[in-house]
């Protein structure tokens, strides 16, 4: 295979050498030299510009016809409809500008090909024309800017009070959501509280207590190892660094513990942590709060024309109002399999290409009953049943492994 490639390459080079020789001989016979382009070449290339122009537009039209209806379906959110009409407005202007300039470009290129009988006209400038094609784009752009910024300001305005608060939490490589529960307030969270059973690091009086216990155990264990480690070795260095980190973490958590004695962290108790698939109500504003555990991710929901980066250390938010339920959209697109989807749109590592979560939009009643079925945070994460839960997790993982094998 590679031998064939080498042979082909060599043959190709030989062919090119011969071709160049033929060109050169031909040019000599016709009395042309390399330093001026011959008349025929100019005429031919002039024609080719016109042909290219036609093919270019044809390619554009073909793509529109073939793929125009395979792009995103109608926007499924209130602001999405605004974005779509802004987009269409832009397209009209851009296609006019695109076609106009290209028609002139290809037409001039094909018309004014070189001829020894003609001389180019000595036109250096035209202030009137310059003025026209400076002001005209300026006016059109002013309209685009005003239209665009009005839309942008409305979209990024503060979410209404009664909006449903949902947290979207990203990590390599998956999404976890948290619904605010009956108080519609998301409990505070911190990355130092993240454990297998508390993947979002939600802070409650119970998690504070168990984290402190856990870390104290860790510290004891590390101190024990450190005592046994050979002095001055690499292992000792590693262990003491780990010990340092744990102590620092303990300090941070104790700060929360002190605050907790003044005003207990109770907002997180009724929060509901959900993975895999989330449900949101139609015609009600959803205020999404984004956090990330490790690297930057981006929560992209193209059907809602919504996107926001998830940045470690910097919470972000985006709100929108879904207008079409999943069921309605399935009917509209004629695709029974259709689902709204949220996926990662910021490079985040090897499995970036497969980091998705399904979103179901449904009536408020359906949404409420789905939400009622979800476990609250405290029912899952309490000091008593945490270890039980962990055992279940391990068992489940083992089962998963067994089935994949």
């Amino acid at each position: 295979m590679s031998l064939l490639a080498i042979v082909l390459t060599i043959l190709g080079i030989v062919a090119l050498v011969q071709l160049v020789r033929v060109f050169e001989l031909g040019a000599k016979l016709r009395g042309n030299t390399q330093d001026s382009v011959d008349y025929n070449g100019n005429k031919l290339n002039g024609k080719l510009w016109l042909i290219f122009g036609v093919l270019y537009f044809a390619f554009f039209v073909w793509l529109v016809m073939e793929y125009g209806d395979k792009l995103l379906p109608v926007a499924a959110s209130e602001h999405g409809a605004v974005i779509d009409s802004l987009m269409n407005f832009n397209w009209v202007i851009l296609i006019i500008a695109f076609a106009g300039t290209h028609i002139l470009l290809f037409y001039f290129a094909s018309k004014y090909y070189w001829s020894p009988k003609r001389r180019a006209e000595f036109i250096t400038h035209n202030n009137k024309l310059e003025l026209i094609w400076t002001t005209l784009p300026a006016i059109v752009l002013a309209v685009i800017i005003i239209y665009g910024l009005t839309a942008w300001n409305n979209i990024t305005d503060e979410a209404p009070e009664e909006a449903v608060n949902v947290e979207i939490f990203s990590k390599q490589f998956g999404w976890t959501a948290r619904f605010a529960g009956t108080d519609n307030e998301l409990g505070e969270s911190n990355y130092n509280f993240i454990t297998g059973a508390n993947p979002l690091g939600v802070i409650t009086p119970e998690t504070i207590k168990s984290r402190i216990e856990d870390i104290k155990e860790d510290i004891e264990r590390i101190e024990g190892n450190l005592a046994n480690a050979p002095e001055g070795g690499l292992r000792e260095k590693e262990l003491s660094k780990e010990l340092d980190n744990k102590k620092r973490q303990l300090q941070t958590i104790r700060t929360y513990s002190r605050k907790n004695t003044v005003e207990p962290y109770r907002a997180g108790d009724d929060d509901k942590v959900v993975t895999g698939e989330i449900h949101i109500p139609v015609n009600k504003t959803v205020n999404m709060h984004f956090r990330s555990q490790d690297v930057i991710h981006s929560a992209y929901m193209p059907h809602f024309r919504a996107q926001m980066n998830c940045v470690p250390g910097t919470p972000t938010r985006f709100h929108f109002t879904p207008t079409i339920t999943t069921k309605e959209m399935r009917a509209k697109t004629g695709n029974e399999e259709f689902d709204y989807v949220l996926f990662c749109n910021k490079i985040c590592g090897a499995a970036h290409y497969n980091m998705q979560m399904t979103i179901i939009v449904e009536s408020e009643e359906d949404y409420e009953s789905w939400l009622a079925e979800q476990n609250t945070f405290t029912s899952v994460e309490t000091a008593e049943n945490r270890s039980v839960n962990e055992e279940i997790e391990v068992e489940k993982e083992n089962n998963d492994l067994a089935t994949t094998k």
């Binding site: 070449g41 001829s115 193209p302």
Partner: protein
């Protein structure tokens, strides 16, 4: 005086001082060009490798195992980590090594002294240093490809924390460190070069070469050098701080991170800070790429249309306006990072303003063709094509600049299509135009025109063939930097289109073999060039064909007119070189 005496001497040089550690700007230009061609070939092969995966995901290809080996392409199937590494290094090389170092390095070095009538750059030594730092950084970048854990893979923008945490991906190990070291050296090269270009243009113009008589190439290269000088130091500090975060446990860009089962101690930093610093360079950077391209195009179009460039002053004005505006638009890369919406609207406003000077340039190019007498040399073909891609790609920029529209298009293939056409394709086409046009000046021989035309049409058609369909994928929400789209049924409609794109990419790449052949064949065997083969007005064509130290054998030429007296009424020839004195009553410049 000393350089003049030096020029007269014509002493024999050793091989090393003539071809390797040369301080002659013409030789340094060639060194930049050849190095950039080697780097571009590497980046182009990479693009074919990842295009194979995108068209036929999960299929086995012997080309993949041939280039990447068993480790990164087990059984000929591309590894996802390596996929990301390929797109990262492809972008880095194309943006920095080909279109910044290669484009400016080649043509600023070749044309600045020759077109302004100087014996050489202000500092030959710094010029040589600039090239060798460029070479060193290229070598480090290439070396990073052979690192055990793989080259940098966090995208060419290397956003932390992904690029800062070796735990987060294999490419953020030693490969990333080498990437940062390479870029730091590259920036040093760029700064030294840019400083030299600016000083040369300001101080060493020959008698009569007023700023208002400078060819547009020089205006463009000068503005480019100023942009680089003001913006590259910011990237330098961004890279340095990232190195600190990676190696010394600082927290400039890191905060609240739980990775690989461990909570990191760094708090208080912001990954968004890096993006501000990066794009403060990153946006001027795209103009550092496109301005020289526009400069070359202006020169080639005017010469081959046998007609003055339309609206010289408007062209200079728009170069300066673009240069200035490029500094206050960087935030449009960050509309969805969660930054204050008000700041977003400011950046939308400033970004859309750039469309005005860009439109002026496009209209002026088209008007230059109008009623011209167009000689379709390969250089001219590439230049006209560049005007087309500049318009096609520029227009979609108006959509992306709109913060509201960017929400849904950010980081999709629409962005990929936009910048590849407006910046990548345009600048590459212009660079080809430059090579075909100034080849006789560089090597004293002519390139074959027919092969040039074949190369042109294949490159141009496949260029659009690759990138134009990607707009549609972006409009459907297909994200960039995905190893495969097959995890999403909604993207299945594009399976065929991806195959088409890859076929165009392969055809386009093989077309470059024609160029390489034509280039190297002509260097040795091409017909000897005349002194002024294109009938051009600018000073570089008044130097002898054989390169000499100091460029002009006798006194420096004196300039009497602007560079665009083509087909001037009352003149016998359809060109009047800048060295020809004005006749009585003759008006110079625009009138």
């Amino acid at each position: 005086m000393s350089t003049q005496a030096h020029a007269a001497e014509h002493h024999k040089e050793s091989f090393v001082s003539k071809y390797i550690f040369s301080q002659d700007h013409k030789m340094i230009a060639k060194q930049f060009l050849i190095t950039a061609m080697v780097m571009a070939t590497i980046a182009m092969i990479m693009s074919i490798l990842f295009r194979l995966q995108l068209a036929w995901p999960g299929e086995s290809f012997s080309a993949l195992s041939f280039f990447l080996g068993e480790k990164w392409a087990p059984d000929g199937v591309l590894d996802p980590n390596m996929y990301l590494a390929l797109v990262t290094i492809h972008g880095t090389i194309m943006v920095f090594f080909l279109l910044t170092g290669g484009l400016s390095g080649t043509f600023a070095n070749l044309l600045i002294p020759l077109q302004i009538g100087a014996r050489d750059m202000a500092s030959g030594f710094l010029n040589m240093l600039s090239y060798w730092l460029f070479f060193l950084s290229s070598a480090i970048m290439v070396a990073s490809l052979f690192v055990e854990s793989g080259p940098a893979a966090a995208g060419w923008t290397v956003y932390p924390p992904l690029s800062a945490l070796p735990q987060s991906m294999s490419g953020s190990g030693l490969g990333m460190t080498l990437w940062l070291v390479s870029m730091t050296v590259f920036i040093a090269s760029s700064l030294i070069g840019g400083l030299n270009y600016i000083v040369t243009v300001i101080n060493l113009r020959t008698k009569g070469m007023k700023m208002t008589r400078l060819p547009l190439t020089i205006w463009a290269l000068l503005t480019t050098a100023i942009l680089g000088l003001l913006s590259f130091p910011v990237l330098f500090s961004a890279a340095l701080l990232l190195l600190f975060d990676r190696s010394f446990g600082t927290a400039f860009y890191l905060s609240d991170i739980f990775v690989a089962g461990e909570a990191l101690t760094q708090t208080g930093g912001s990954p968004i800070l890096y993006q501000h610093l990066f794009w403060f360079l990153g946006h001027p950077e795209v103009y550092i790429i496109i301005l020289p391209a526009l400069g070359l195009t202006s020169e080639v179009i005017a010469t081959n249309a046998r007609k003055p460039i339309f609206g010289y002053r408007a062209m200079v004005g728009s170069i300066l306006a673009i240069g200035f505006l490029s500094f206050i638009v960087w935030g449009h890369h960050m509309f969805v990072t969660g930054m204050d919406p008000f700041i977003g609207s400011v950046f939308t406003f400033t970004t859309l303003l750039i469309a005005i000077p860009s439109a002026v340039k496009a209209f002026n190019y088209i008007s230059t063709l109008w009623k011209g007498n167009l000689k379709f040399t390969p250089a001219m073909m590439f230049s006209i094509a560049m005007v087309s891609t500049f318009i096609s790609g520029g227009l979609t920029g108006i959509i992306l600049a709109d913060a509201a529209l960017d929400i849904n298009l950010h980081d999709t293939y629409f962005v990929v299509a936009h910048f590849h056409i407006v910046m990548g394709l345009s600048a590459v086409l212009a660079m080809f135009a430059g090579v075909y046009h100034w080849f006789p000046k560089m090597y004293g021989r002519m390139m074959n025109m027919k092969l040039g035309h074949v190369h042109f049409w294949l490159t141009f058609v496949s260029g659009y063939g690759v990138f134009f369909p990607q707009h549609f994928m972006g409009l459907a929400g297909v994200p960039r930097r995905y190893y495969t789209n097959s995890e999403f049924p909604m993207f299945d409609v594009f399976i065929d289109l991806n195959v088409l794109v890859t076929i165009f990419a392969i055809v386009g790449s093989f077309a470059q073999l024609i160029f390489f052949f034509n280039f190297f064949y002509s260097v040795y065997r091409g017909p000897k060039a005349k002194q002024n083969p294109w009938g051009s007005n600018t000073l570089e064509w008044t130097t002898p064909v054989e390169h000499i130290h100091g460029n002009w054998p006798g006194k420096l030429p004196v300039v009497h007119r602007w560079a665009y007296d083509y087909s001037k009424p009352g003149k016998e020839n359809d060109f009047v070189p800048q060295t020809v004195p004005l006749e009585e009553g003759e008006i110079d410049g625009e009138h």
